[in-house]
């Protein structure tokens, strides 16, 4: 029995409003939910595993509610859904988009429903998975190909009007966002300020912004039997420079200790690049990736500091938040080394 007494949005004893709404959305005669289990919840919203019959056909879905408190740069569930849907339509391997609603009268919170995908996502397990380790870079290649499909979505996109065009170098937009977030952090960070100045001075132009996932990394995709089954977590999607996702994926901070496998701790970066270039109309500029890895380190440092700030001034007495905030110097070290390697 669970000791978690937090209130849940979805009430398994009152599923009629959701069933009726789903039947209308899916154009079905009947939708009958046979099981609903909560997978996790709290500050990041809730995930429910749902088993349903749609006109008698069994379906397995995941219902995700809106996060109670989300980062300013992240999307709500509905917008996240439309990003995922655009990627799905472009042929990327993502959970099947089923339905979305901002109407709080159905289950008490906005939500989206996607198809359940098999496998697991935990980064620490992924970089030790023997099937992945012995695949000769196959998973990294697959992740490269699916990323190229996501990047094949260009502005304005379908149902993506809520995404703002960068209007300038997307790297400069990132620097501005990081500075705005850094201003919310009580502890001054001179090293990070130095890194941001360097990123600003060296910001590359981007001729054609694309749909960037924004958090494309090990830990955010599902793998089953060594094979990619779906890309998760679309809340940081934006129009941006395609190299942002590549730099984020390869950044040392997302290799989960498997530093010698430069593509997310799961394979050689060449395999990721090859997969990407085989699928993309526009080949990667590999020389740009080190810049975006510096930016990735800075970006993760800012996120870590924001998490730590929830402990320092936000009144959330969580040891995990405090220790996450303390990870910032690792990223600052990474970024300063990256800058030095690029000639300062």
């Amino acid at each position: 029995m669970s000791h978690d007494t937090r209130p849940r949005t979805l009430d398994p004893n009152n599923l009629n409003p959701l069933q009726e709404w789903l039947a209308r959305e899916l154009g079905a005669t009947s939708v009958h939910i046979t099981d609903a289990k909560v997978l996790g919840g709290g500050a990041i919203g809730e995930n429910w595993l749902i088993e349903a019959g749609v006109d008698g056909e069994k379906r397995n879905w995941v219902l995700r509610t809106d996060a109670a408190s989300r980062m300013a740069m992240s999307h709500d569930r509905a917008n996240e859904y439309y990003c995922l849907k655009a990627a799905h339509e472009a042929g990327a391997k993502v959970p099947e988009p089923i339905a979305v609603s901002r109407d709080t009268s159905i289950i008490g919170a906005p939500f989206m429903i996607v198809g359940q995908v098999a496998g697991y996502a935990q980064g620490r397990n992924m970089v030790r998975d023997e099937k992945v380790m012995n695949d000769g870079g196959a998973l990294a290649g697959e992740l490269g190909r699916t990323l190229a499909r996501i990047h094949s979505v260009h502005p304005p996109g379908k149902d993506l009007g809520f995404l703002e065009l960068p209007g300038k170098s997307p790297a400069l937009v990132q620097v501005e966002q990081m500075r705005a977030n850094l201003d919310l952090v009580s502890e001054p960070r001179p090293a990070l300020e130095y890194v941001l100045c360097w990123l600003e001075r060296n910001a590359p132009d981007c001729a054609q912004p694309v749909l960037c996932h924004g958090d494309y990394r090990t830990g955010n995709y599902m793998v089953d039997g060594g094979t990619l089954t779906g890309i998760l977590d679309w809340e940081f999607c934006h129009w941006g420079d395609p190299h942002l996702d590549i730099g984020w994926f390869c950044a040392r901070c997302w290799r989960f200790g498997a530093d010698d496998r430069e593509a997310g701790g799961i394979g050689p970066r060449e395999a990721l690049y090859r997969g990407y270039n085989a699928e993309s109309q526009t080949p990667l500029d590999e020389g740009m990736v080190p810049y975006w890895e510096v930016l990735a380190a800075a970006r993760w440092a800012v996120v870590a500091l924001l998490q730590g700030e929830r402990f320092i001034t936000g009144g959330e007495p969580s040891i995990e938040l405090l220790l996450t905030g303390m990870m910032a110097p690792e990223m600052e070290h990474e970024a300063l080394q990256g800058i030095a390697a690029l000639g300062g």
Partner: protein
């Protein structure tokens, strides 16, 4: 080291040793991660007492009076590679001194790689 710091060290050392010897081995699997975080926090507190404040040295070497002002000056460009030739090196030294307190294993691993 002054008296209060010495007393704090004694308390932290015995708390960490008791935790490692008597509590950590019996922790349920799902609590081991939290346990590791507790041990880590105690270690940071201990090293924080042991090491000189990395910020003080940075400020002295760059001729700045406080970290907030330094961060602001770097953002505005008043402190830069042009005004301080060794700025990047000083910042790296500062970060490494911080890491020696917060995550010494990170530096050891990076030196090996």
């Amino acid at each position: 080291m002054d008296g209060p710091a010495q007393k704090a060290r004694v308390f932290l050392d015995i708390a960490r040793r008791t935790y490692s010897d008597e509590i950590a081995p019996g922790l349920a699997k799902e609590k081991r991660y939290v346990g590791a975080m507790v041990a880590s926090a105690l270690g940071v507190a201990r090293r924080r007492l042991e090491h000189a404040d990395p910020a003080a040295r940075l400020l002295e070497n760059l001729g700045a009076s406080d970290m907030k002002g330094l961060a602001k000056s770097i953002r505005s460009g008043n402190v830069s590679d042009e005004t301080h030739e060794r700025l990047a090196d000083e910042l790296m030294t500062y970060i490494e001194a911080e890491l020696a307190i917060t995550k010494p294993k990170f530096l050891e691993r990076r030196k090996k790689s």
